[in-house]
Subunit: 454 residues, 2 copies
């Protein structure tokens, strides 16, 4: 693209194509700047609906959008599929995995967070978390396979180990996963299996703190507990998992058997924060000021889950809304700084970031939710009305018109017909902790039992 | 399920949930038989549309259906997710990977075919073929990643190795893959990339025999060649690939560079045929009589790609139509045999299998096809009318009403808007033969080059 006039265009580099990065880029899109958005993946993922992919209601393509296509019509935005591996802050350069470097005048780092297994990285395989599409497909595989293997054992031996899905962590993700698994077992799977009774599957949330949904007001927490109980989800609070093994977890000395174990407990900041060489908090988030700058770097903005921002003494939570708002704020701030450099008076430069909290919501199964709404009115909703609100908002915020249509249709179809979404088992056909293996290379057991048709 | 009356119900075991197996089960569904359908996967895949998943037009869930859900309302059909590993023919038992055995009165083996790399199994990783959903997602990953890596190199070095997609094999699958890749490059990718010109990507079919689409009449072959040329696909016939390496293939002494190499050449029968201990043809297909029985086993039926059936001196081809017809035939034949055992006169028992050839068709890109129609009228169509016929037939034969709707909508959307289907790159971010790697564990090159924004 040719330079406009004789003034050299400022270069803005955005690392991360999540909510913060996408919103920052969109906020800068109409300005005479050269913007580069870097992401390891070729797609933006709408994380609030990842659990619906994990539980086979939606397909990966319905909640993801290639980043290039989001910015197709913004000629000043370059999309680079690469991974940032370091920084040269004095030279204002980002180092990339492919070995090259990219220069910036302004830098936005929005690489989010990842799972934290509290130093037990060996748990990652045994209890996968839910951060990206690959995770979602893996969780889908394990949950569906658990039912298949149980059916298989029942046909063969007339008995099977009870199906038990343990979700470690009772935050919004844990609650949504638990509700969705329970729904699948009770409403959908029950119609497909003949020998096992999927609706007897147990879904258990293990939460370390005294309550699930710690960020919600106590009355909504209680409503969530009740709604979860209504669909058969059990909750144990104050339960710290001390060990995860194939087929069981330990809470202190107690062994809890589980068919599938999922991780919705700890998150930690993206390791890129550490490479900036600026102060971090305990979870690795970059401590930034009210302009989202780390100390002494007014040209660097940290947005989304990677940022530790305090407001009224509380840390702004690591969810979609503040990430979007931070991205938009950084874009606005950069546009003002550039305008000042260009000779404008820099009006509005002193306005700090303010998190406009519209509320929180989490679904509980297919027709209930809790919503702590703060805008455009104050209200605490639960049950079906909250679910409807959740649905409308999530369809609205999905990126890509095609996705909005597809998700809405898919939900309507599933809701009205109780019919299959996308219950495909792809990939390996093994489940950690099961002695039954399908498609694996191991030889089968030496003494075959004889199963006849029941 | 309780036995009906005092007569013991006959047990039919079907191995394989492809077109043949599904149609056999549906053909037996309303009879007082106990049917067990065994498949390694939990889903039936509509193979004729796999290439559209591979080329990111459709999503996996749109062309696959969980087998359990197909037979949800047929209480006499059991679905077993397991793998057959052998047979005990005298005892009439199938051995399963999990170690158990299952008894049958009638057995239908319909495990299809797999890629044949002519003894060079090391080629499988370098040139993936297209037989299942995992293959399709892998091919999608490689094709999309090739464009991303080229863009990345162009941004960094101002040059990139020409994009060249080589498809080994010029049968229907090879032709459809080639047409779809060319379409993607010319029509869709061209709008998303800034630095490279995706429409200059070369698509080359290497065919060993003197002509592509060997099963089609010469005039349609020539039309296909012309239509492929119109969308930029090159064809080299009489070209036997003698070596595949990362980044290139050898045809005799000639080296042909390629970014992505795909395999659409050889197929071989499922290895299960060999385990039956009955005569096989050169490709491992079971040679059966006109009742689809191998010699001396009137209780065993071989259906679909695994069967070597001759009709008028020609082998019935290994495609969807004959597979469906064989499945239906086996079901009918079994129902008559059972009726005779039950005391009926066995009317119609002598009627042999006859392949009712309705014709063949293959698409060439997004708006052309060749169709050699033999029923309900004779006709050789090509171009857009053939494409419309192809579309209607494929939507009609898709299993599952939801899939039919979804595929139709997806096609309409893509066709009318030129907008994204499901262009997601998931999984590893490496491409065999490229020195650029993303997300891999290797350290990046020691001497970083400096790239500034172009």
């Amino acid at each position: 693209m040719a330079a406009m006039g004789s003034i050299e265009r400022k270069r803005v580099v955005i690392i991360g194509g999540g909510f913060a990065g996408i919103n920052a880029a969109l906020g800068l899109a109409h300005l005479p700047l050269d913007i580069t958005l870097i992401d390891r993946k070729n797609h933006h993922t709408f994380q609030p609906l990842l659990y619906q992919v994990a539980l086979a209601v939606l397909s990966p393509a319905e909640i993801a959008q290639p980043i290039r296509s989001i910015f197709r019509d913004h000629r000043n935005i370059e999309v680079l599929m690469d991974e940032a591996t370091g920084f040269d802050l004095p030279q204002q350069r980002v180092l990339l995995k492919t070995g090259s470097q990219i220069e910036y005048d302004y830098l936005i780092v929005a690489t989010g967070s990842t799972h934290s297994y509290f130093g037990r990285d060996d748990w990652a395989f045994l209890a996968p978390g839910l951060k990206n599409l690959e995770d979602a497909v893996e969780i889908r595989r394990r949950v569906l396979l658990a039912f298949e293997l149980a059916e298989r054992q029942m046909q063969e031996n007339g008995t099977y180990p009870p199906l038990k899905f343990v979700i470690i962590g009772g935050g919004p993700t844990g609650v949504e996963l638990a509700g969705a698994i329970s729904d699948i077992a009770r409403l959908y799977m029950a119609r497909d299996f003949r020998h096992i009774n999927p609706s007897t599957a147990e879904v258990l949330i293990l939460e370390g703190s005294p309550s699930i949904l710690a960020a919600y007001p106590p009355d909504l927490q209680q409503k969530a507990v009740k709604q979860l109980a209504d669909i058969g989800v059990k909750i144990r609070t104050g339960s710290h998992v001390t060990e995860i093994q194939p087929g069981y977890v330990m809470v202190g000395d107690e062994r809890i058997d589980c068919t599938v174990t999922l991780w919705a407990a700890g998150v930690q900041a993206s390791p890129l924060g550490k490479l900036l060489g600026v102060p971090l908090d305990r979870r690795g988030c970059v401590i930034v000021d009210q302009f989202l700058n780390p100390p002494d770097h007014p040209e660097i903005f940290i947005c989304g889950d990677l940022a530790h921002v305090e407001e009224n003494g509380h840390q702004v939570p690591g969810v979609a809304q503040p990430a979007m708002q931070m991205g938009t704020f950084a874009a606005k701030r950069i546009s003002r700084l550039v305008a000042r450099e260009m000779g404008s008076d820099g009006t509005g430069l002193t306005e700090p970031f303010h998190y406009f909290d519209k509320g929180d919501m989490a679904t509980i199964g297919r027709k209930a939710a809790v919503a702590n709404i703060k805008w455009p009115f104050h209200g605490r909703w639960s049950g079906f009305p909250a679910w409807i609100v959740w649905l409308v908002i999530h369809v609205f915020f999905l990126i890509g018109f095609r996705n909005r249509l597809a998700v809405f249709r898919q939900w309507a179809w599933t809701y009205l017909t109780f019919r299959d979404g996308a219950r495909l088992i792809t990939g390996s056909q093994e489940l950690p902790g099961w002695n039954l293996k399908y498609g694996a290379e191991e030889s089968s057991s030496p003494e075959p039992s004889t199963a006849t048709k029941p």
